[in-house]
Each structure stands twice: as structure tokens, then as C-alpha cells.
């Protein structure tokens, strides 16, 4: 069935280092991929979504590229900031409006 896999449960980095959070998906369709960020006691907020024309979405310094050949949509940032500490969810979506979420990755940035 359709699924999203985030292999890292926790990623701990020092401020200023590059960030890469993994996301792979399994689907028989050509889905849209999303990254959501959730801060403590808040609802998830959309960070990035994939484009159908393979443009690379960017927001708040984060970017991700949809690679259909490897079924991946990894989240990257060149330099981590303390404020980036949060839960990050990769999600798969089709045209009906439902999302399938990965297990989430907790990103912890230390000074």
C-alpha cells in the first residue's frame, strides 16, 4: 500500500551544520510530497510541497527535491539554526485531500 518512511527518529546537530532529513515513499500513483513542521503543542504547518514540474521548493532556508527514480523527497538546509528545532513530518498526498504521514523526525539543534 501507499506509505511514507522517515528512517530517523531523532537528529541532533550543532548550530551551523547542514541538515538533511530523509523521506522515501511508496505509491502506485504520482503523488505530491509535503514537509510539515510541528512545534511543541502546535498543529503542523506546511513547510514545503513538491511541484509537478520538478522545481525545487524552498522556504525558510529549507529545500527538497522530489526524485521519482528513488522515490525520495529529502529535506535539506545548508546551515541549521536553533529555531529549527522541531518535529518534521514528511507526508504523501494525492488529489483527494488526504495525507499519509511518516513517523516524524525530531530535529534538535544545539549551540
Amino acid at each position: 500500500g501507499d506509505s511514507v518512511t522517515q528512517t530517523e527518529g531523532l537528529v541532533t546537530l550543532t548550530e551551523g551544520l547542514p541538515v538533511m532529513l530523509n523521506c522515501t515513499y511508496q505509491s502506485t500513483y504520482s503523488p505530491f510530497l509535503f514537509w510539515y513542521v510541528q512545534h511543541l503543542n502546535e498543529a503542523p504547518k506546511l513547510l514545503l510541497k513538491s511541484f509537478t514540474d520538478n522545481k525545487r521548493p524552498e522556504h525558510q532556508g529549507f529545500h527538497a527535491t522530489l526524485h521519482k527514480s528513488s522515490s525520495s523527497f529529502h529535506l535539506q538546509k545548508s546551515s541549521a539554526q536553533l529555531s529549527d528545532s522541531a518535529l518534521y513530518y514528511c507526508a504523501w498526498g494525492y488529489n483527494q485531500g488526504k495525507l499519509i504521514f511518516g513517523q516524524g523526525t525530531k530535529l534538535s539543534i544545539k549551540p
Binding site: A43, K49, Q96, G97, L99, G104
Partner: protein, 114 residues
């Protein structure tokens, strides 16, 4: 802009009782509304997807008998948790879609069962 309001934000109910939560889309027409549950230390599980003028589709492990949903128009949806028990606690999110690809989430209703 597009906003989704959920209320109540927090609620506590006694084990075996029921509670209703609501979701309102403002600034756009919600052609579909999906309800999710985030249990403690877990990811978001899709409960059901409601599309106006179509039957509500429940995911495996969730039933209409336990989580009845009403989606009467393009701006409002409600879901009731019937006969709530400890395993039903968590953050219930409403995600509304505007006909494009983006899903807007409310801040959720946090359910505590005592």
C-alpha cells in the same frame, strides 16, 4: 488568507462518555476535510476523509459507529468521539483542502480521557 479553526482547543471527558469537535474553514471553500488523530508519541493517523457530495471514507481501524462525521457544507465539519476511552486520547486535527493540492490544518482539539 485561508484559515481553519477547530474548537474546542482542549477538552476533558470521562471514560465512556462522548464529545464533539468542530472544524471551520475560513477564507476558502473546503471541498474535502480529513480528520486525523495524533496519539501520544505517535504520528498522525488518518481517521476519515469527507468530501462534499460523496460518502465519507473511513480508514482501517476507524468506523462511523465510533467517529461519526458531519460535513454539511463547504465551510464546516464536525466529528464526535463516541464512548471515549483512554486509547482515544490525543490531538485531533482537521485538514481542509481548497480544491488544489494544499491542505490547511487547524490547531487541533486535544482530548484527555479521565
Amino acid at each position: 488568507g485561508a484559515l481553519v479553526y477547530q474548537y474546542p482547543r482542549r477538552t476533558i471527558c470521562k471514560s465512556g462518555t462522548s464529545m464533539r469537535m468542530e472544524c471551520q474553514a475560513v477564507g476558502f471553500q473546503a471541498t474535502s476535510v480529513a480528520w486525523y488523530r495524533q496519539s501520544p508519541q505517535k504520528t498522525f493517523e488518518l481517521i476519515a476523509l469527507s468530501t462534499v457530495n460523496s460518502a465519507i471514507k473511513y480508514e482501517q481501524n476507524f468506523t462511523q459507529e465510533k467517529f461519526p462525521i458531519s460535513h454539511p457544507n463547504l465551510s464546516f465539519s464536525s466529528m464526535t468521539v463516541l464512548n471515549a476511552y483512554l486509547e482515544d486520547r490525543g490531538l485531533y486535527l482537521c485538514g481542509a483542502r481548497d480544491g488544489a493540492t494544499e491542505v490547511f490544518f487547524g490547531k487541533g482539539t486535544r482530548l484527555t480521557v479521565v
